[in-house]
């Protein structure tokens, strides 16, 4: 499975040199691998075996069996270790994670190893973990391992401080604001924001909910007007409309939401007349409106125009658009 490795044309000479170099690396790698697997077969849990796993995993962290072996070695020692010694050994594993993750940020087995070390150490420091994952997300703000890990850490923090859950979630919410302001196209941040809103909203009064949603509309509007061709903002916007509509049973109020948004998006359409997502979502608004109260002839004519325009602009998804109206 290789991703993003470009093909390069080389001369026969360069090719030969490369092969020679590779032959040496292969030889070393195979020797190291067979040494480690032999040690494991011999149920060898000594220091030398442990250090061999370090060398091998630096070389190839995808070797999941070697991570397993490494943990078996550690566990075989922990029975006779003091708490301080276990803590120290687990800290060393966390440091080893930092060393290898840098070159392989998407390797599942490395992430698993960190979780194991934290579940094994007597007193994990979750606040430190949160700072660490914050740093990692600065390097790659879309790494889903990083975001998954962040949610895991927050879960842990919440479980030790159940009285602070609301405050913790609010802080996380602010973190997503910061990430989104840095880059409106950060889908991962939008996703996490929505998950947090789902947790925060039910605990609020109706008035607070209205205020929060109004605030969200403001944020999402700046995103849409900056990046009208970006799905992230639209998904959030669509969800907000559903939320606002669900706050009231009065048809006039529900319609007011739709009309207000239709005006806004029509304005955006003037600025971005070729925006496929703008068109698709303004059509969606009419669908929502139709669900509340059947559309009149003027509205119907408008939708017809939008659908036609969209079919011209986005032939890729023409099958999808037929379905839309």
């Amino acid at each position: 499975m290789s991703h993003g490795v470009r093909r390069v044309k080389t001369t026969a000479e360069v090719q030969l040199l490369k092969k020679q170099k590779e032959a040496k690396l292969i030889d070393e790698y195979r020797q190291l691998t067979s040494a480690v697997f032999q040690k494991r077969k011999d149920l060898c849990y000594d220091d030398e075996s442990f250090q061999l796993t370090t060398r091998l995993l630096r070389n190839n962290p995808e070797l999941y069996t070697v991570w397993n072996y490494r943990r078996e070695i550690l566990l075989s020692r922990f029975d006779s270790c003091s708490e301080a010694e276990v803590t120290e050994a687990c800290q060393a594993e966390l440091d080893f994670f930092m060393e290898v993750i840098r070159f392989n940020p998407k390797c599942y087995w490395i992430w698993n190893h960190r979780l194991w070390a934290l579940s094994t150490t007597p007193s994990p420091n979750w606040d430190m973990e949160l700072r660490l994952v914050g740093k990692m997300l600065e390097l790659d703000s879309r790494n889903f391992h990083g975001w998954d890990y962040r949610r895991y850490v927050i879960d842990k923090i919440c479980s030790v401080q159940p009285e602070n859950i609301l405050a913790i979630n609010t802080r996380e919410f602010d973190y997503t604001t910061q990430k989104i302001m840095e880059n409106f196209s950060n889908f991962s941040a939008w996703h996490n924001r929505l998950k947090l809103l789902e947790m925060i909203l039910p605990g609020k009064t109706l008035e607070e909910r209205r205020a929060l949603i109004a605030n969200e509309f403001e944020l999402v509007q700046s995103a849409l007007f900056t990046e009208p061709q970006d799905e992230c903002g639209w998904l959030h916007w669509r969800w907000l409309i559903e939320q606002e509509i669900s706050l009231t049973e009065a048809i006039s109020e529900q319609l007011a939401t739709v009309v207000r948004e239709t005006d806004t998006i029509a304005e955006l359409l003037e600025l971005a007349p070729d925006g496929k997502l703008v068109l698709r979502n303004i059509i969606l608004l009419y669908r929502i409106k139709h669900g509340i109260e059947p559309l009149n002839a003027v509205d119907r004519a408008k939708v017809g125009q939008y659908v036609q325009r969209l079919a011209e602009l986005d032939p890729l998804r023409v099958g999808l658009d037929e379905k839309w109206w």
Partner: protein, 321 residues
Amino acid sequence: MSNHQFLRNLHIQFIEQLDKKQDALEYWYSEHLRLSGVYWGLTALQLMGCPDLLGRDAVIKYVLSCQHPNGGFGGHPDHDPHLLYTLSAIQILLMYDAMDHINTYAVVSFIQSLYDKDTGSFKGDRWGEIDTRFSYCAVACLSLLQALDSIDLPRVVEFILACRNVDGGFGSKPGAESHAGQVFCCVGALAIVRQLDSIDRDLLGTWLANRQLKNGGLNGRPQKLEDVCYSWWVLSSLSIIGRQHWIDRAKLRDFILSSQDPETGGIADRAGDVPDVFHTLFGIAGLSLLGYEDLEPVDPMYCLPLKLTEQLGLHSEPGSK
């Protein structure tokens, strides 16, 4: 019209020669997943109509050498058992009609041992990683072994649905963002247990259709690059929910064909990159599902030849609901 041709013969050669590339470091670096590599290669060959090129007896012997006493399979002899490789093993044995070589009860009990009854999820192995990928592996394996009655299906479905997001897609665990690979695993698993009615096909279909980019390729998440393997995860999911026509199929075909290596054969993640057997299978499976190049039809739920899943009585047509 496409200016690329499907390089069938070169791809066949590419796969045949995979085991002869021992002078390449990558050959050794990928040893831990060789069993899956065999599944990718064999399935690609079967879809191209050459079912026997790898040497049936040798492959069966190799597969058996990857099995552990607990019933699970590792990615290579001496590598630990894991659900990922257990599925590959079962798929290979079925393609060779060689299930009588193994004790299927042992495999079923290995899978059962990884079931977490508190959440309805599956661990990948005894170390406990939880992910909807493993729910798929478990459900697909059990279905292929005709043993779906050995687990609490409603709980398994409940967990998968807990991983669904408001965009209609699915993540790796509850709370995780939607990702095309994960969508395939969840939709595939739901389809296998005939529970597709619990999802909103239009909503999910829209998210999936939006994965197609200008050059016809599909990406795995918004704002990411197109990739042949994601093209398969998205396309197969669209097929399963009966929404394949929501994307431009001819453009996707062009994209896959442009990702072929015209010299060595094989398909890469995208044009100009180094090909590998993983993308070769998913490129070919994609073309098959699109109905191009006169390939054997593929079953989108299992990524196996349709002939086989029909024979096993496991294939189901997409509903359009």
